[in-house]
């Protein structure tokens, strides 16, 4: 395995400018992860707000209807493998699109998937905020949406930051399966180089190290954010 490591490094990195492939792959991985996180956070928050408000106003038929739709979405998305979802997305739902759009399809599929998990995380965070906070906001004359956005959600986000960070990290790593729909992400590039050099060690370990360092960077950023939000807890 370690025979001629300099030669392996040369073949996996320098020869034919292969190092550029890792960077190109990482670029795709990052674009998919960031796009999906944005979609997931927006979608998840909207669904969580629908579910919480449907629960508060049980008599509202329109909210009840939206609530049922959300339940179906959550059940289907959380009950099927991500891998199957992305294959369905690419080969059935967006089958008409050419291969040029596979990154876009990946962003949409991952975003929709992540939204389901984020929704449940945000909902749990909102429900953990004391009911008195809602009453205090409303008793001052703030509307329901003002109370939600200024008082309830900031406290909810603080509660759920660790769980949300976890979801972001899982999502980032799970993008490694997009090779199945012909997206040239970091993992796909590593296997591509392996198939050229017939030497798995350098490309696979290198890609693992790249994933690891980005996850460590994310954890570090999240810890900093958590510290900042916790400043109101100091006694």
């Amino acid at each position: 395995m370690f025979d001629d490591l300099p030669g392996q490094l040369y073949a996996a990195l320098i020869k034919e400018d292969r190092w550029k492939l890792y960077i190109e792959g990482l670029g795709n991985t990052m674009i998919i992860a960031i796009g999906a996180v944005v979609i997931g956070l927006v979608l998840g928050t909207v669904i969580a707000l629908i579910k919480v408000n449907a629960n508060l106003n049980k008599k509202n038929v329109f909210l009840k209807f939206l609530d049922v739709i959300c339940d179906i979405y959550l059940t289907v998305i959380r009950g099927t493998p991500m891998m199957v979802q992305i294959l369905i997305g690419f080969n059935i739902i967006f089958a008409a699109l050419s291969f040029d759009y596979s990154v876009l399809v990946a962003i949409i599929c991952f975003g929709i998937n992540s939204g389901a998990y984020v929704a449940e995380i945000v909902r749990s965070g909102i429900q953990a905020v004391n009911r008195g906070q809602l009453e205090a906001g409303r008793s001052l004359g703030l509307s329901n949406s003002q109370t939600m956005s200024l008082i309830i959600l900031p406290q909810a986000i603080k509660n759920i930051l660790p769980a949300l960070g976890n979801e972001l990290i899982v999502l980032f790593k799970e993008t490694a399966i997009v090779g199945y729909i012909a997206v040239q992400d970091l993992t796909k590039m590593a296997t591509l180089i392996q198939s050229r050099t017939y030497q798995p060690f350098v490309p696979l370990i290198l890609s693992a190290l790249i994933y690891l360092s980005i996850v460590m960077l994310m954890s570090w950023g999240l810890r900093g954010l958590e510290r900042r939000l916790n400043k109101s807890d100091r006694r």
Partner: protein, 241 residues
């Protein structure tokens, strides 16, 4: 000012209020006492529609607020409420707690609201806490801030829902003192409490509630020294030892 017409509130099978009617005039200080679970808090919460009455009407300053067309948010700006559990916003500083509502609702600019908040804090002797967070304050301080937060909206009436029940005994005094000052300034107040001393000293009217009904409604001297209702006599015998 506030007119309550045969208000009924049911929570499923539980009948919290069984037809309460009441007229509260401007400047009155109404204190409501009664055994726990008698509907005192529910009644108070019906006044600013934190609970929607099952039937009956509530009128406030000539407006029927139980009418579905009534703008509840507008109405609540004129009714301050103080809760048993303070309910300060833990992620906001004391100054932000006080200025959040007036600024968000565009009643004041941030500068005006800050100025008013600093005046109010100076009045209760907590100026140096403006940039602190609620968790850094004692219960008594938090409750006084909660009162000031409601006052910053310049309400016409203040509702107090057992404001001292969650406090350590040595902090009850400072909160009652502030409420007394408000009363002396002519604020209309409706107070649910277990503090009989406060009721006797500050109230212009005392109400005794039990089983979701008002059983006695009298000035404090009469209420405490010549009670008519047997349930009230029994209640007073237990609480005034």
């Amino acid at each position: 000012m506030i007119d309550v017409k045969s208000v009924v509130k049911h929570f499923g099978d539980i009948h919290a209020l069984n037809g309460v009617s009441l007229h509260i005039k401007k400047g009155e200080k109404v204190v409501i006492v009664g055994p726990s679970g008698c509907g005192k808090s529910t009644f108070l919460r019906c006044l600013n529609l934190l609970e929607t009455p099952t039937s009956g009407e509530v009128w406030f300053e000539g407006e029927c607020i139980t009418d579905p067309r009534c703008n509840v948010n507008k109405l609540r700006m004129r009714m301050g409420m103080v809760f048993q559990q303070f309910n300060l916003f833990p992620h906001k500083t004391i100054l932000q707690n006080i200025t959040l509502a007036p600024v968000t609702l565009k009643l004041m600019t941030q500068e005006e609201a800050d100025k008013r908040a600093i005046e109010l804090l100076a009045r209760i002797g907590l100026s140096e806490k403006a940039d602190a967070y609620p968790a850094q304050l004692s219960g008594g301080q938090q409750q006084r801030i909660a009162i000031v937060r409601a006052l910053a909206m310049n309400p016409d009436v203040m509702l107090f829902d057992e404001p001292t029940s969650a406090l350590d005994p040595e902090m009850v005094g400072e909160v009652l003192e502030l409420m007394k000052e408000l009363a002396d300034e002519g604020m209309t107040m409706v107070v649910v409490t277990h503090e009989m001393g406060f009721a006797r000293e500050v109230a212009t009217r005392c109400l005794f509630m039990a089983d979701g009904q008002v059983l006695e409604d009298a000035p404090p001297t009469e209420f405490f020294y010549r009670p008519k209702n047997d349930r009230l006599k029994d209640f007073l015998a237990k609480v005034l030892v």
